[in-house]
């Protein structure tokens, strides 16, 4: 009995302490929000840390310094939609002027974004074309145009002989990745009849090791596999490693979205041929600029100039009045990788 009582006393103590810790954190955050209601914005991304969103945070802070706003970046510790919903819910009571959100699965956060808008917070999204509960969604480019662009690169790398290719996505619920897949497929079927997809995209779970293992299987299963397209930034890393191990750097083209720092030496060794991306720093700034314009009562329309490279003349989506596209993609090979130090 005594032991049980001591244990429960300790458990109670721990619980009480953590409750107190939680409270104090909550109070701190609320005060912070209350004193700067109109000048703070929160950037909620897919996953905390990582080169991609660290670069976005760099852009956020540059923008914050030039404009009189404070910007905080926050995210869950893995890329699950549930954690992102919880984080957005926690942000609403802090009453930031605007939130800029990069969703993990746009459909799953519609409800919580609606709550944010109902609470009077401006919502700007990115990588979520067609999302309903947003004031404006800004895409670096039209996803299908980007997918088609990647297919152009792949087809020219594969040459006249063509062949089959496989497409990796970070997750089967990531809308943007799946739109790239569709854009690439459409481009292949209309422009490159000799380039054929092996079928459905394969999920890498945003893990280079999964991409590596699946690529080994692909190489074993499809002898005529000539190309791999990656969507998550680690896909080309894993795929490139498997291709290099098989000694097929020259016969298999590996092209996909990534960053120079993530692709690392793979570009130099030829395991990865070309990586494409958009600069997350500029995308972060574009979201914040839109939020600022909306706060000032301006409207975002077809042709609005955000005064950010690649976003000088944004176009409105034909499908959704709140979705806008820039033309902000960048192609990087071993030659120009040094120009992008992130």
């Amino acid at each position: 009995m005594k032991i049980v009582r001591t244990a429960s006393a300790i458990a109670f103590g721990v619980a009480a302490a953590s409750l107190l810790a939680g409270c104090s954190a909550g109070i701190g955050a609320t005060t912070d929000g209350a004193t700067s209601t109109s000048t703070s914005m929160t950037n909620i991304v897919k996953l905390s840390g990582g080169d991609w969103f660290n670069r976005m945070e760099t852009g956020n802070q540059e923008w914050a310094a030039e404009n009189d706003f404070t910007v905080n970046q926050t995210a869950g510790d893995d890329s699950s939609p549930e954690k992102q919903i919880a984080i957005i819910s926690d942000t609403i009571p802090q009453k930031p002027a605007a939130i800029t959100v990069v969703p993990n699965a746009p459909e799953s956060i519609e409800a919580v974004l609606k709550r944010a808008r109902d609470a009077g917070i401006i919502v700007v999204t990115h990588e979520a074309a067609g999302i309903v509960n947003t004031d404006a969604d800004i895409e670096a480019f039209d996803d299908e145009a980007y997918g088609a662009h990647q297919m152009d690169l792949l087809a020219s790398c594969m040459g006249d002989a063509g062949g089959t290719y496989a497409h990796f996505v970070g997750g089967l619920t990531v809308t943007s990745h799946n739109n790239w897949v569709k854009g690439a497929e459409d481009q292949a079927s209309s422009e490159y009849p000799k380039v054929k997809s092996i079928g459905d995209p394969i999920s890498s779970d945003e893990s280079a090791d999964t991409a590596y293992q699946r690529t080994k299987e692909l190489l074993a299963t499809y002898p005529d596999l000539r190309g791999i397209l990656g969507a998550a930034s680690t896909d080309v890393v894993g795929a490139g490693r498997a291709v290099a191990e098989a000694g097929k750097e020259d016969s298999v083209c590996v092209i996909g979205t990534s960053l120079p720092s993530t692709a690392g030496d793979a570009l130099k060794t030829g395991a990865v041929d070309t990586i494409t991306f958009w600069d997350p720093a500029l995308a972060g700034k574009a979201m914040l600029t839109i939020a600022k314009k909306l706060l000032a009562g301006e409207e975002i329309v077809d042709g609005t100039d955000l005064d950010i490279p690649g976003y000088e003349k944004i176009t409105q989506s034909p499908d959704s009045a709140t979705t806008f596209f820039g033309t902000a993609w960048v192609d990087v090979t071993a030659e120009n990788a040094a120009d992008y130090p992130f």
Partner: protein, 342 residues
Amino acid sequence: MSVLTRTPQFHIARLRGRNNEGVLLGIIALLLLLIAMFSPGTLSPAMFADILRSSVVNMALALGVLLIIISGGIDVSFTAIAIFAAYSTVVLMRSIGLDNGILPFLAAAVIGALLGIINAVLVAGFKLQTLIATLGSQGIVRGALLAFVGSVYISSLPSALAQIGDARLTTIGGSAVSVLVIPVILLAVGLAVVLRKTMFGRSIYAIGGAPESARRAGIRVGRVQTVIYIAAGALSGFAGMVHVALVGHASPFELVGTELTVIAAVVIGGASDAGGRGSVQGVALGVVLLALIQNSLVRLGVPGFWHTAVVGVVILLGVAIQAQSRRRRSKRSTILESAVTA
């Protein structure tokens, strides 16, 4: 009452193995047969090597989990400990300029053991429920890693470590078999001996099977728990380093999220979630079964959208078979009891 039915069941039980190892082997054989029927070209030496490759890290992780599950606990913090230990070791090596192929494995194991102390204190000291305790420590370890150690993707390892990761024991059908298989096998054999042949090993089963009886029999439950949580931490740290060396980069976002797959492999391998049961052989078969499934879906041409579901079905089947046979076993023992009293 009816003692007559005992004899035939006894024979089947022997064939089945102490922890259903026989049944598992049967399932694996059946799967291989199915694969051979549906896709004859798939069963290749290269596939064997790929399965080995994807089993190595899970096996190393599973050894620690096995210890804890036998003792009647559950651990969900081991992946966080693994990546914390491995990633901080790489960060440390880079900051002090150390380049060595063996030391990082030892360092990661030591860091893992230190983190294991957190669990040991919570479980053996404060007598917290193991699931909740390790859920808490998972968050702490993960958070500390991202907040204090770093969240940057390190795309190239110190060269001696990278060499160990690339070193091949042999090459089967074009797929490399890493030298890191050897230490993992040695650890597995070592653990099997400890569990079966030592007083300490038998104490783990005892406290898992009936903690109160174990205590009355003179086993110091707290001390045994302390040792196994620290040992599990060390094994996790080592496994994390094996993962990092094999993938050739260090990313703080990997491994966490795979804990349920590893736990599933251990449970499929016959370890009882109620404690007191489990073997290294069973776990090895469980790990191989899951790797077999995960590495054959692309080869079998299963569409990407079905992969997760198929893996789920196999996990469910494996666990169901184990649960079913346990029920049968407990029925059998009541018959035995009545036979003794009769």
